[in-house]
């Protein structure tokens, strides 16, 4: 055999990606056997019945079939503003959806993105520093590929984290330097922890190059405050770190105390020297928010204070993939410039997006309340993003049983949950957690009307599980 497992790139073997790991595979098997599975493992709203927003789909359908625009009857099935918008986007391409675009994305769409950022933050944004990507993940990979030279380079990553980061760092042969979010402080980010993490990494000879923040948090759902972001940016300035701001959940906010504020805005507010010297790359996507257009693979990143020659290198690497897919670029354009009041489609668009967001907000509450009503389960409120990350305090009997089954305790719990209820979750160990503490991640995406039933079935399973394994000796610690 030409390619033996033993000969594979070690970095590939080391890499782990739990969101589509053992639990997901088992769930898929069960589904094939005919069992009803509730997939809450991936933030994939349309798969759980969320309907796409109508207007962008109309525009993209017209771009897919531009000959419709010449048909006198097109107005029978498409509103005039969708037709106008389709013509607008086609005019930004050179050859429609079927031609490669500039490797950084269509200049016209990047300009719309820059205008959006400017409106959002109140500071100018340069389209030349915005690259469109096939989803945010591709962008993260491109930037990390540029930063990581070898295992001597460390990237500060929150724990718990979204495993894209650990997987990519491992594929690229770098070192993940964890900093722990404080569960008892609603997953707060303590800058003292950051200092400790950096000092420890440095004592091991690792040069820490970059820091990742996920705001709102995945899987933890917290929203960072402006004060906290300032501390982080000051820390990056002092320690000479590039900040990678994963801001893909910026539309997903479920409380009013801490609205989303972008790292770029905070950085610009801080003024010189920070605004001139802190290097920042922020990521966005069409997969999240009330759009949830995961299947399109659309995203962008914006670079701040990255030297032009490095931008050139990132451009060169982007060019190897020729161009991001063009229909997703148009989705991105539509996301950053949705229908305006007065447009024919405005009312429908506003109704649909508001409906989705308000329902998500209610679901976040149903879910956290549900978890907190269960035996030995505690869960911080989901302030933003799409996930709940309850802590499961496993009794010693369960730890024992997991050991006998050769499973990590939270994997053991999640597998039992899956078999009993069809609820497919991701064990906390896939995201990283403090030793001896166990969690699971669910999305808050199941349809609202199914939510009470799901939480009932979870509670029934959990409380029975706890009773079964409770031998009266204390629990895994908080």
């Amino acid at each position: 055999m030409a390619l033996e497992y033993d000969l594979l790139n070690e970095n590939v073997k080391k890499c782990q990606y739990a969101v589509r790991g053992e639990l997901y595979l088992r769930a898929s098997e069960l589904q094939k056997e005919g069992k009803k599975i509730i997939f809450t493992n991936v933030g994939n709203p349309h798969a759980l019945g969320q309907k796409p927003l109508t207007f962008p789909r109309q525009v993209v359908a017209l771009c897919q079939a531009p000959f419709l625009l010449d048909d006198p009857n097109v107005g029978m099935i498409f509103p005039a503003d969708a037709i106008a918008r389709a013509k607008h986007y086609l005019s930004l391409t050179s050859g429609g959806l079927g031609a490669y675009s500039d490797s950084r994305g269509l200049p016209g769409v990047r300009k719309e993105v820059a205008e959006f950022i400017q409106r959002r933050d109140g500071y100018p944004s340069d389209p030349e520093l915005i690259f469109l990507t096939d989803g945010a993940s591709k962008g993260v990979m491109q930037i990390l590929n540029c930063v990581i030279r070898g295992e001597g380079d460390g990237i500060l990553v929150p724990v718990p984290q979204y495993p894209l980061y650990s997987a990519t760092i491992s594929l690229l042969g770098g070192s993940l330097v964890p900093y722990y979010l404080d569960e008892s402080e609603n997953w707060g980010l303590d800058v003292n922890n950051l200092r400790q993490s950096v000092a420890q990494a440095r004592s091991q000879g690792i040069s820490v190059r970059a820091m990742v923040i996920i705001n709102p948090g995945n899987p933890t759902g917290q929203c960072l405050s402006e004060a906290n972001l300032k501390e982080i940016l000051r820390f990056c300035y002092n320690e000479k770190l590039v900040l990678l701001g994963d801001e893909v959940y910026q539309q997903n906010i479920y409380q009013d105390e801490r609205p989303f504020i972008s790292s770029k805005k905070v950085l610009m507010d801080m003024g010189s020297p920070f605004s001139k010297e802190v290097q920042l790359v922020s990521f966005h996507t069409v997969s999240k928010g009330y759009w949830g257009e995961c299947g399109q693979r659309g995203g962008y990143f914006e670079m701040t204070n990255i030297p032009p020659r490095v931008v050139e290198e990132i451009y060169k690497v982007a060019s190897i993939a020729l161009s991001p897919n063009v229909s997703a670029q148009i989705f991105m354009g539509l996301m950053v410039s949705p229908p305006k009041p007065g447009d024919i489609s405005y009312d429908q668009f506003a109704r649909e997006s508001k409906g989705i967001l308000e329902s998500l907000r209610r679901r976040a509450k149903i879910m956290t309340d549900g978890f907190n009503s269960c035996k030995n389960v505690v869960c911080n409120f989901t302030e933003g993003a799409m996930y709940s990350f309850p802590q499961i305090r496993l009794p010693p009997g369960a730890l024992q049983a997991a050991k006998q089954a050769g499973k990590v305790p939270d994997v053991f719990y999640c597998l039992k949950l899956l078999e009993a209820t069809g609820i497919s979750t991701v064990p906390g160990s896939g995201f990283g957690q403090k030793e001896g503490v166990f969690h699971l991640r669910t999305t808050i995406l199941p349809a609202e009307e199914e939510m009470p039933e799901i939480m009932d079935s979870f509670k029934k399973f959990n409380d029975e599980f706890m009773t079964q394994y409770d031998n009266g000796f204390g629990y895994s610690r908080m």
């Binding site: 055999m1 030409a2 390619l3 497992y5 594979l8 790139n9 070690e10 590939v12 990606y17 589509r20 709203p45 349309h46 798969a47 789909r57 993209v60 359908a61 897919q64 079939a65 419709l68 009857n73 029978m76 099935i77 391409t93 050179s94 050859g95 429609g96 959806l97 079927g98 031609a99 490669y100 490797s103 096939d134 989803g135 990979m141 540029c146 997987a167 594929l171 190059r209 000479k240 770190l241 590039v242 010297e277 995961c294 299947g295 399109q296 693979r297 990255i306 030297p307 020659r309 050139e312 290198e313 060169k316 690497v317 060019s319 190897i320 993939a321 020729l322 897919n325 063009v326 229909s327």
Partner: protein, 549 residues
């Protein structure tokens, strides 16, 4: 731009000095092609002044003190990124874009009235129309509410509506906005496997299909798997499509070149493979895989079945993974050649899963469909153990999935309308119209090129390119040197300035040292070809008049 490329060159020279285990000619190749910041499929350009200034050490990056306090500067980024060669906006295309802008204002300042881009395999940007049926299905899948409207029946063909329903039924929840299985939607992979079976006459397994955003990510995935260090080598054709050199450089491996024989129509000689393999071995490089591009890019040859059998045997004997870039499988223009997939060839030799590890790449960007902007493609992975397969799946899953409309289109090109379907006649007319026009264009351009003094051009049996050899007079070479540019880039730049035609110097693809080529696509619309031929002929004549020895 200039300074950083010089910096790259310097870094590379330093590395070359430090690293003596590298094969000598290989180093030279890498060095040379770095100095010529080469190409994406788009636009390859030689950056002329860099060539001679590379030996100067005065103007280096890192001397840029203004950015030295930043965590990420050119000096501190991944050296593999610096090393990789894939400059998309090289000098010639930059010049072309500037000319194009200026033409709008100073129409009379130039001896031509438009820029003709023959540098990139991007057919729809040159006016090729998409296949109507495919786009109808995609539009319906993009906005499924259309399927419930009665007016839709007046606007769409009936089989496109049926097909859209069929595809939606294969997508869980009919959700085209959802992430799919990381290998791609199972029902669509079924359609692709059935298409492969119909093509080859041998079974194909949907579980062997990994759908990707274009063919390139598949190539990257395999390189990632195969390459652990510079000790791992990949045999690549020279001339080659620079995706391979770039991907190998990004993953830190070694490109082991094998030269195609221009004299025998870019023939692939097994003796050359053996020689290069031994040569690599003697330098401590373990060759892991052989990349074959069939039909060839930039060389346009279509391999004979007999040649393919020898290649399969070579891989089997030497334990190499065969990476078969078969993205031009629909683009064959000569009656005496036919495309055969390597899988079909291997299976017809009686070799099964256990005998040979084979990866076949396919894309929706090429063929008669030319849907580059969709980023769709797949790789069919056969002959790997399940533990290796799991690793491929895992790497695919980190990126979640490829885009759904690309997936749908990949399944459509492998299962187009059949006789009797409502769209069949128009589909066949569109397909054959495009393919026969491409064949005509290839022939016309090839004949025109062969009439030029000192130019020889193999026929484009397939793919989308011609790669003529220009026997440049010594005087032209001297003039290029004086202009601090490579001779083929010198020629291409002159061509652009005189005619508005954009082609890519051969150095972007690598070539036998001392020979000079350029790559020209056959993609401009047919009505433009006579003008291109005239302008090219006229230019070449005056170029030769100026430089003839």
């Amino acid at each position: 731009m200039r300074r950083f490329v010089i910096g790259q060159a310097k870094n590379l020279i330093d590395q070359t000095r430090r690293r003596c285990c590298q094969p000598h000619h290989h180093n030279n190749l890498r060095l040379l092609s770095l100095l010529r910041p080469s190409a994406s499929d788009s636009t390859t350009v030689y950056s002329p002044r860099l060539f001679s200034s590379s030996s100067s050490s005065s103007d280096m990056p890192g001397s840029d003190s203004s950015s030295s306090s930043l965590p990420v500067t050119l000096d501190s980024i991944n050296p593999k990124v610096l090393k990789c060669e894939y400059a998309v906006r090289g000098e010639i295309v930059s010049i072309a874009q500037r000319l194009q802008d200026d033409l709008k204002i100073n129409k009379d300042a130039y001896p031509f009235d438009e820029i003709i881009y023959c540098n990139i395999g991007n057919p729809q940007s040159l006016g090729q129309q998409p296949i109507t049926f495919f786009r109808e299905v995609l539009a319906l899948c993009s906005h499924t509410a259309l399927l419930d409207e009665s007016a839709t029946h007046g606007l769409f063909s009936s089989d496109s509506i049926d097909r859209a329903w069929k595809i939606l039924d294969q997508i869980p929840g009919k959700a085209t906005g959802a992430y799919s299985h990381s290998q791609g939607i199972k029902g669509l992979r079924d359609a692709i496997a059935a298409g492969i079976e119909a093509r080859d006459g041998f079974p194909a397994d949907p579980n062997d299909i990994f759908m990707t955003d274009g063919a390139s990510p598949g190539v990257h995935m395999m390189m990632q798997l195969l390459i652990s260090s510079e000790k791992d080598g990949i045999l690549c054709p020279i001339p080659q499509y620079p995706l391979y050199s770039a991907s190998i450089a990004l993953h830190g491996g070694s490109l082991v070149p094998y030269y195609l024989d221009e004299a025998s129509g870019w023939g692939l000689e097994i003796s050359e493979l053996k020689k290069q393999l031994e040569d690599a071995k003697s330098k401590g490089i373990t060759v892991r895989a052989l990349a074959v591009i069939n039909p060839g890019n930039p060389t346009g040859q279509v391999l004979s079945e007999e040649n393919q059998r020898d290649i399969v045997d070579f891989c089997k004997k030497e334990g190499l993974v065969l990476l078969a870039d078969e993205v031009y499988q629909e683009n064959v223009y000569v009656p005496d050649k036919k495309f055969h997939s390597f899988k079909k060839v291997a299976r017809s030799m009686g070799y099964g899963e256990k005998d040979i590890s084979l990866v076949s790449f396919q894309s929706i960007s090429k063929g008669y469909y030319g849907e580059c902007g969709k980023r769709g493609g797949y790789m069919e992975v056969t002959g790997f153990t399940s533990d290796v397969r799991e690793q491929i799946y895992k790497v695919a899953s980190v990126n979640l999935c490829s885009n759904i409309s690309g997936q749908i289109l990949a399944s459509l090109v492998m299962s187009p309308p059949k006789p009797g379907d409502d769209s069949y006649d128009s589909y066949i007319a569109e397909k054959e119209g495009i393919l026969s026009s491409l064949a005509t264009r290839a022939k016309t351009l090839e004949e025109a090129l062969n009439k030029l003094e000192g130019v020889t051009c193999n026929r484009a049996e397939g793919a989308m390119y011609l790669f003529p050899c220009i026997n440049l007079p010594q005087k032209a070479i001297a003039a290029a040197e004086a202009a601090k540019t490579a001779p083929d880039a010198f020629y291409c730049k002159r061509l652009l300035n005189a005619t508005g035609i954009v082609v890519v110097p051969g150095s972007g693809f690598r070539q036998v040292p001392g020979t000079w080529h350029f790559r020209c696509t056959i993609l401009p619309q047919e009505d433009k070809i006579p003008a291109i031929v005239n302008r090219l002929t006229e230019f070449h004549k005056s170029f030769m008049d100026e430089f003839r020895d």
